[in-house]
Symmetry: C2
Subunit: 323 residues, 2 copies
């Protein structure tokens, strides 16, 4: 039984690999670019990047790459058998069995794949902001929204392993179109991508007059980053837009409370870096939006303990558990 | 250990009590009116009705009412300790501990309360349309929408026991107001109450011209029952409205698929009697609305096996399990 495992969180642009001990201590780290979308290659280019990372991390500790359990977190619908069934944000590898490819390349029989947000949920549950909490949802606010649902202390995986696709919960039936083909998905409102879209909308509607002025009067030039920066400095119109994002965030969280009666949310992903601008409003709106709010114990919303590392940390747990 | 249990499904207007054997055989049945909403009485009048039912069913079988395990399904947010925390449809008993009241009145230490749709899910899982299926959701379409979530073979109860309030999932952020205080809750669209509302809306908008004509030109006189009857006879405008209900049903089911990756839905409640007019459309729209539909195994939608009896059947399972 290995004392360390490697966990790799594969995103649309970067892959973060960590070597982690059983107690959660990080003993090695490496970040690489993932191959750009140059057409479908069944994940081959991606697998090559990961193999290089694994060799490098093992070499540093003088470990044999065929003997270290490996977990891989992937952004998409992961089948229980390890195939990436549907991955709008990693289309080169859609349908691929990355675990088998890595296993072959490394002569390693302990390679396991899992959805990235599920990995993050496992890490926060074991070591982080969800520790000791039996019913919570990990919500990763990146370009889209990923999720990992823990109910009664167990990760909910669903029939095929696809559970937790919370970003594609429709909250606005006739709302904005989504990459998935649907309309009004939650991630079009409360993610980094959602902030981008709402910024554009607000700028065009004249609700970001100061920022538009700073962009030489071009509403299309105002970026989401401009809004978060201005909100941090207290510019009213920007604060108002961040509160709007907080409202949309709270709306989706309320739905999860209704369905799952989860008492806690752990917020991760890139947008969580702007958490001071979003979460206070989200907490406030929860009181309005949750059915029977007063009949429930307090619902808590915190940021993740491991931030951008949650996915890779949790991938090592997958490796430890299944090896 | 008793060979039979009593299960009572308490609705806003009626209470159905069943005496059921361990193998699911119904050995006694009694239906009563629940007390009308004459102000809050902490559930006393309701408890009295249930006590009478229990005495009656026991007398028929010459059983001692203090010795038969009793389960009660209630329409609202049930705390794990048996208190009815929030019940918009049974306000006279909101906050009451009906289990304790029945226990005291009957000198029976085995009285257990559970949410009614959770009871229905248990019955369908054990004996009915969800038998052998590890990930499914029971959806009861009555005045509102109730739900019971089964994940990995277990009923999801949530932190306080409130899980499954799926009717209050918001699917239309700026939509129709709901009794719960929110806007755009699923049950305002895809339930019996939703059909009623959509009928009114369609009649006023001129989309039910034939039916309005049959009501002496008064759009407010067209009832939901008129629509289901006309749709059964093939009247286009009525069929179209029932398909609209099917679309809204599919939208909420798609959200549950995204979050839970459930592969099966069991539809119960009053509106399920019009299932031939709604479910075919709902199944068809699922293919459009579910993210990554083609990457998933088939999603099935069936009607409940026990119909109006599911809740009471399942309440006996609660009694058997916890006694």
């Amino acid at each position: 039984m290995s004392n360390v495992a490697i966990g790799i969180d594969v995103g649309g642009t970067k892959a973060l690999a960590l070597m982690v001990a059983r107690d959660g201590r990080v003993v090695g780290e490496m970040k690489s670019q993932t191959p750009h979308d140059e057409g479908f290659d069944a994940g081959e280019a991606t697998a090559k990047v990961l193999v290089d990372q694994i060799y490098e991390l093992c070499e540093r500790q003088s470990l044999d790459p065929s003997q270290v359990p490996i977990g891989v977190g992937l952004p998409g619908m992961m089948r229980r058998d390890g195939h990436l069934a549907f991955a709008p944000n990693l289309q080169t590898a859609s349908g691929a069995d990355l675990g088998a490819q890595l296993g072959d390349a490394l002569a390693n029989s302990s390679v396991f794949c899992e959805n990235d947000a599920n990995c993050a949920a496992l890490a926060e549950h074991e070591w982080g902001a969800g520790r000791g909490i039996s019913d919570f949802v990990m919500v990763t606010l990146g370009t889209g929204i990923g999720g990992g649902v823990v109910a009664d202390g167990q990760l909910v995986r669903g029939r095929s392993g696809f559970a937790g696709e919370i970003g594609h919960m429709v909250i606005d039936a006739h709302g904005a179109p989504c990459l998935c083909g649907g309309h009004g998905c939650w991630e079009r409102y409360a993610s980094g991508g959602g902030l981008h879209r709402l910024t554009r909308e607000a700028a065009l509607e004249g609700r970001l007059a100061t920022l538009v002025e700073q962009c030489a009067g071009d509403p299309r030039a105002v970026r989401a980053e401009d809004v978060t920066a201005a909100a941090a400095e207290g510019l009213d119109e920007a604060v108002a837009l961040m509160r709007e994002v907080g409202w949309w965030l709270a709306l989706g969280l309320s739905n999860l409370v209704a369905i799952l009666d989860c008492g806690h949310f752990v917020i991760g992903g890139g947008l969580s870096e702007a958490s001071d601008l979003v979460l206070p409003a989200a907490r406030e709106y929860l009181a309005e939006l949750v059915e029977g709010y007063d009949a429930r114990p307090t619902i808590t919303v915190t940021t993740s303990m491991f931030g951008a590392r949650s996915g890779a940390m949790g991938a090592t747990l997958v490796a430890f558990e299944r090896a």
